[in-house]
């Protein structure tokens, strides 16, 4: 029967020791342990949230970078295209300019030539006239007496001479 009846002495000791144990544990063990565990859990939760946030930020950053890269690429292409066009235009312009220049030079050369030719022709004409005159003078001096008549005749002859 005493197996299932509480014993007074043991009950007193149990009450004493258990209460003391509870107070000591609650104050010096459970409080710091639970605080530390809670703090750590909070820290982990915060770290996870931060990681999630950073990941999202990274995602956004990456998207932004991609966008920037895309724009840059497009811009580069544009610039290249423009440059090519400009170069082409320049070459084309240079070409046409050169052609023009060349044409001009040729033209001026032709003009020069023709003017030189004209001058030379006039010179030649004069020369020929003088020569003819001299010839005629000499001829007429020898043959003719009347100068005026002779000269008119000589001019007529000279103009009849075609130089081309």
């Amino acid at each position: 029967m005493d197996l299932i009846l509480p014993d007074f002495g043991l009950l007193v000791w149990t009450g004493l020791v258990f209460s003391l144990l509870f107070i000591l544990l609650a104050k010096f063990a459970w409080k710091p342990i639970l605080n530390a565990v809670n703090a750590r859990e909070q820290k982990i939760a915060e770290a996870l949230a931060l990681a999630e946030k950073t990941k999202a930020e990274m995602q956004a950053l990456k998207a932004e970078n991609d966008q920037i890269l895309k724009t840059a690429r497009a811009e580069r292409d544009q610039i290249l295209k423009e440059a090519k066009e400009a170069a082409n235009a320049m070459v084309e312009e240079a070409k046409s300019k050169a052609k023009d220049e060349a044409t001009k030079i040729v033209e001026s050369a032709r003009q020069n030539i023709s003017s030189e030719k004209a001058a030379a022709m006039a010179d030649l004409k004069n020369h020929v006239a003088t020569l003819s005159l001299e010839i005629a003078e000499k001829v007429i001096r020898q043959e003719l007496t009347a100068d005026d008549k002779q000269k008119a005749l000589a001019d007529q002859f000279a103009s009849e001479i075609k130089l081309n």
């Binding site: 299932i4 002495g9 063990a29 459970w30 710091p32 565990v37 750590r40």
Partner: protein, 368 residues
């Protein structure tokens, strides 16, 4: 995994200790004339004023614990004055004989019968009537085997938990190492699976220290009880006084944290006819007591039954008086001992779990 490593080394200790029990018991049996299983088992599972280690009962190697009596002032002396005292025989008329130990030296004037201390009457004898003495009893506040075991167990818990706490105090909120790594998951389990799961989310924190203390107190003392030699082997958590005290604590916590809703359900159960309401009051009132009562009996009976089974299995050898039976009884006792390791944890878990269920029911808010 470190836990498994720890468990296996624990198992080794238990195997060694179990074989020690066998040798101890064999020495014991060979010197006694007849081996009484019932007496041996009852002697083990009950409290004592000595901590028996080996050799025959009363006279073998044993730790004599201090006796503290309150009988017109405190008297403190060693229990060896009983165990090494005078063995007295009393014969009654119906030819039944009783043996009790008469104290000598400072224990003079007291007699010890079945670990109970009585005052000797004017003839210097214990007066037996029925099957126990009818002498006056002084208030016995002795450091008995269970009290010593209680103090050792509590110190052990204190040392373990303070070193766990010191780890956190020193290192802050970091990943646990060493002893903290082993105990933290258990502490978190008590907090989350026991307290948080059963008690309202806003109120559970207040009860976590109580549930933790109860869980570790029961678990560690159960484990100590499984070690067959000193400083273990006392049937502490299988003692009705201890389980009564623990269940009473749960009762107090439940009753004092009960809110309006809880008492409303007890004295005026909603949702049933008035006649039933009146009928339900005594039933609910009895329910307040029976729940902790079941807690008390469950722990007591589980642990006591575990001790009885192990001892009974070991006793097979001595009942049959043949050492060959050790081949059967030791493996079976080992199996039960391993099972008891599980039970030791499970009973602590259950006590805390059911306590938290009762507390949870007491603080629950009405949800209509």
């Amino acid at each position: 995994m470190p836990q498994i490593g720890k468990l296996s080394s624990l198992l080794q200790v238990i195997v060694l200790a179990l074989s020690f029990t066998v040798f101890q018991a064999s020495a014991y049996a060979s010197e006694e004339k007849s081996f009484n299983v019932n007496e041996m088992i009852m002697h083990h599972i009950k409290d004592a004023h000595e901590w028996h280690i080996t050799g025959p009962e009363h006279g073998g190697v044993s730790v004599y614990l201090p006796v503290i009596l309150h009988d017109n002032g405190f008297k403190v002396f060693s229990s060896k004055y009983f165990y090494h005292g005078k063995e007295t025989e009393v014969k009654l008329n119906d030819s039944t004989t009783y043996h009790y130990l008469e104290g000598v030296g400072p224990a003079k004037g007291y007699g010890l019968y079945h670990e109970e201390i009585y005052k000797l009457n004017h003839e210097g004898k214990l007066h037996f009537q029925g099957d126990h003495p009818h002498n006056a009893t002084p208030t016995d506040l002795s450091i008995t085997k269970n009290v010593a075991s209680l103090i050792i167990g509590s110190l052990l818990i204190l040392i373990i938990m303070l070193s766990v706490a010191r780890f956190y105090r020193k290192n802050g909120a970091v990943a646990p190492k060493g002893i903290a790594k082993f105990f933290e998951p258990i502490i978190v389990m008590v907090r989350d699976d026991i307290a948080k799961a059963n008690i309202d989310h806003h109120k559970y924190q207040k009860y976590v220290p109580y549930l933790l203390t109860i869980f570790f107190f029961i678990w560690i003392n159960n484990m100590l009880g499984l070690i067959p030699i000193i400083p273990g082997g006392a049937n502490l958590t299988g003692n009705i006084t201890i389980t009564f005290f623990l269940a009473f604590c749960t009762l107090l916590v439940t009753v004092f944290s009960g809110n309006k809703n809880y008492w409303g359900h007890i004295f005026w159960m909603p949702g049933i006819p008035v006649a039933m309401k009146i009928f339900m009051i005594p039933i609910e009132l009895i329910g307040i007591i029976t729940k902790p009562f079941a807690l008390m009996v469950r722990l007591f009976a589980n642990i006591t039954a575990g001790h009885i089974i192990v001892l009974a299995l070991i006793s097979i050898i001595f009942i049959n008086k043949n050492y060959a039976w050790a081949g059967l009884s030791v493996p079976m006792a080992l199996f039960i001992s391993v099972l008891e390791i599980l039970v030791a944890f499970l009973q602590g878990f259950l006590f805390a779990m059911l306590s938290s269920l009762f507390i949870g029911a007491a603080v629950e808010e009405a949800h209509h």
